[in-house]
């Protein structure tokens, strides 16, 4: 079993690391303070091909594999979570959902411009009244014989005000029982009449990012925009989460590494009368724990990425990776603040930003409580994955490049 990264993967890792360090890092602290996504970030990532990294070349992408996507996310979040969030929703929730469930026509029309970064995508699933309780979302889609008319509100949508398209799941069958079978997913042009959107302010973290709400008032969406079939919305959404969740896991791993680096660097610099604080065992143990968590989180997400490459169903492994990495990243960031003492409480140092950012990932993309229930179901054999009608395509070097 070769656990090493290939030369290609190492080059991808280095390239994204250099980009984030040179072009984003210098102003990120200030951007987080000011709030909102710096305008140059999305276009620049588009230019570098990052927005289409894991999409086949024939669909406008860069033809790299799912492990590369994970590495990209780890390197981006090492600098700031907001960068990786953009990838989670654009690459994960939107592009990969189209790759998995889209018709050829939908791939031509949407996936190509998205993979090229000419258009930006996001995922609109969560509502003010339903997050984990997704099966009971209330936004509706009514079939009028020709098109669907969408009504409702989606909230906590990253890139809501920046994106051109959204993958939107609504209830198309008000009477279905069980409820989750009445959902359908659509590709929606966010410039359609009846759509209003706005930014959400006052967030604890990911302040250098863009998070917002989308309101649908009698929005007309053509039937050909259905992703999957009517009634398959829950399955499509869960697939989207398998993709998004993977990026969250990889990103959180980068956040552990960032906390680790900040902590070791500070511990080596900070001297008190009896020496450097890195000589003291209580500090050392905190750092050791972070280093261990980094190794574990990394192996978990790379394993999930490898399974995706092989075309093996990986809902369980992706969920494990997300749960583990996000819990560990909050722990690591919190300890990093502790190691910095009073300076950790100041935005002079990045660790308070890491901690605030880390908390979000424990909540979104399937809260960690949900992940724990999923894992319990697998562990107690209460859940076995059935084949879904459309699986995420395995990575195929021949056809993807």
């Amino acid at each position: 079993m070769d656990f090493g990264l290939s030369e290609e993967h190492q080059m991808v890792q280095r390239m994204v690391r250099d980009f984030a360090a040179k072009e984003v890092f210098p102003t990120i602290q200030e951007q987080d303070r000011v709030g909102g996504m710096a305008p140059f970030i999305i276009p620049r990532m588009a230019e570098l091909g990052i927005l289409g990294i894991t999409i086949p070349v024939k669909f406008g992408g860069q033809g790299m594999d799912y492990i590369s996507l994970g590495l990209v996310c780890e390197e981006l979040e090492f600098i700031d979570t907001s960068l990786r969030v953009a990838i989670s929703v654009h690459n994960g929730l939107t592009c990969l959902t189209l790759l998995q469930w889209g018709t050829e026509e939908q791939k031509e029309r949407y996936l190509v411009p998205l993979a090229k970064g000419e258009k930006i995508g996001c995922g609109a699933f969560t509502e003010p009244g339903a997050g984990s309780d997704f099966a009971h979302i209330r936004s509706s889609g009514k079939n009028d014989g020709q098109d669907y008319i969408l009504n409702g509100e989606k909230m906590w949508i990253s890139l809501a005000t920046i994106a051109d398209f959204a993958v939107v799941t609504v209830r198309t069958d008000q009477k279905s029982d069980p409820a989750y079978q009445g959902l359908s997913t659509f590709m929606v042009d966010l410039n359609s009449p009846g759509i209003t959107r706005g930014d959400i302010h006052g967030k604890l973290g990911v302040r250098a990012g863009s998070t917002g709400w989308i309101n649908f008032q009698n929005v007309r969406v053509p039937s050909k925009n259905l992703i999957g079939e009517e009634g398959e919305g829950f399955k499509v959404t869960m697939s989207a989460f398998d993709s998004g969740r993977y990026t969250v896991a990889a990103g959180a791993t980068g956040l552990i590494r960032a906390s680790l680096q900040a902590s070791t660097s500070y511990a080596e610099e900070r001297t008190i009368s009896s020496g450097k604080i890195s000589d003291f065992q209580l500090i050392q143990v905190k750092i050791a724990r972070m280093a261990l968590d980094y190794q574990a989180a990394r192996l978990l997400y790379l394993n999930a990425g490898w399974l995706k490459n092989e075309g093996i169903r990986n809902t369980r492994e992706t969920s494990s990776a997300k749960w583990y990495a996000t819990e560990a990243s909050f722990r690591a960031a919190s300890e990093a603040v502790q190691i910095h003492g009073a300076y950790g409480f100041s935005d002079e140092y990045p660790v308070e930003r890491f901690m605030r950012n880390a908390k979000g990932a424990m909540i979104y993309e399937g809260s960690n409580e949900i992940q724990s229930l999923i894992q319990a179901d697998y562990a107690l054999d209460k859940r076995r994955d059935k084949k879904i009608r459309r699986e995420l395509p395995p990575y195929d070097h021949q056809t993807w490049t």
Partner: protein, 347 residues
């Protein structure tokens, strides 16, 4: 055992690079120990004056080629001349300063003379006539000792690693004129023009930085104009303080830095901020004026070679990290310091 030494005097249109004199000083020192003459090599156009200055700095003899073909820096004809001089004079050691030109010429000369170059030398040992050069490698993380098995040995000296001799204007010596037999048509390059370097030293590249902290606004002797409100008055005082910082920076060719406190108080723009947030710098010389030295500022400058702290408060943390500390008001210290440095650097 006599060692014959040749010190190359690097210059631009007759104005010497000061480090050339350091090389000449080293040559003189070795001559004194091992016996032999101190010979300087001056090549250029209208450089007779430069030859005289070489005597002031310790040359006994100057090998001189004064010819319009050597006016502008083109390495090939200059290297040809150095090789010609070396073949005639047969030095054991040729010393160049590690300037952009010195390095190039040393490299070419080594090829022609079938020898090697020891570059960027910071220390030299010549006990018993055996030369061992010490130089930093890997960005200064390691120190290597080098020897050269062929003659002439060619070394380039790192700037300021060796002492500049004190010039003695009463000294003179003999000039030997070299034949310049270079065919102009045989030189593959020509200089179209020169371009002025634009002023302003960036923090990133500066080898000297002068920084101001909160203390810049705290000159008790200053009376701000009456029409300013409290905030504006504070900023006015800070501007006067930063003018002193800039004055010192100008004399030293240094960049101006600032602590976060000064930037947050709007005494100066964020571009100048040195620290955990802001730029991380590692100049040879860092002046911290009215800077307390909290860890987040230190994070940005503690790898500076020499830190000079000027602060009214003798207990300021910066004094723990400074090589030299002056306890006092920066507003009374900077003016005489600037003057003293101006005098020294002009001389």
């Amino acid at each position: 055992m006599t060692k014959k030494m040749l010190a190359y005097i690097d210059h631009f249109h007759g104005k010497a690079q000061p480090s050339s004199w350091e090389g000449l000083g080293l040559a003189a020192e070795i001559s004194k120990d091992l016996g032999g003459e101190t010979v300087a090599l001056v090549l250029g156009d209208s450089v007779n004056e430069l030859a005289n200055i070489a005597f002031h700095y310790g040359a006994d003899q100057v090998l001189l080629a004064d010819n319009p073909i050597l006016k502008d820096f083109r390495p090939e004809p200059l290297a040809d001349m150095i090789v010609q001089a070396a073949r005639e004079y047969q030095p054991d050691l040729i010393i160049f300063p590690t300037t952009s030109r010195g390095r190039t010429l040393a490299g070419m000369v080594a090829v022609d003379l079938d020898s090697g170059v020891m570059v960027d030398v910071i220390a030299l040992d010549w006990a018993g006539g055996e030369i061992t050069a010490t130089r930093p490698i890997y960005g200064g993380k390691l120190l290597a000792k080098l020897t050269c098995s062929t003659t002439p040995q060619i070394i380039t000296l790192r700037t300021r690693a060796f002492d500049k001799p004190v010039p003695d204007p009463s000294r003179s010596g003999s000039v030997t004129t070299l034949d310049v037999g270079i065919d102009p048509a045989g030189v593959a390059t020509s200089i179209a023009s020169h371009e002025e370097k634009d002023g302003g030293v960036s923090l990133n590249d500066a080898s000297v930085i002068v920084s101001g902290g909160r203390g810049v606004a705290l000159n008790p002797a200053l009376e701000p104009p009456g029409d300013l409100d409290e905030e504006a008055a504070e900023i006015w005082k800070a501007e006067q303080g930063f003018a002193l910082v800039q004055g010192l920076a100008d004399v030293l060719g240094a960049a101006v830095g600032a602590s976060r406190a000064a930037v947050d108080a709007k005494y100066i723009e964020y571009d100048h901020q040195v620290g955990q947030t802001g730029k991380v710098v590692s100049p040879d010389l860092y002046f911290a004026c009215g800077v307390s030295g909290a860890i987040q500022h230190l994070a940005g400058m503690r790898s500076s070679k020499v830190i000079v702290a000027i602060n009214k408060d003798p207990d300021a943390p910066i004094f723990n990290f400074a090589r030299f500390g002056l306890v006092g008001d920066m507003h009374t210290i900077l003016p005489p310091l600037t003057e003293a440095l101006r005098e020294y650097l002009a001389g």
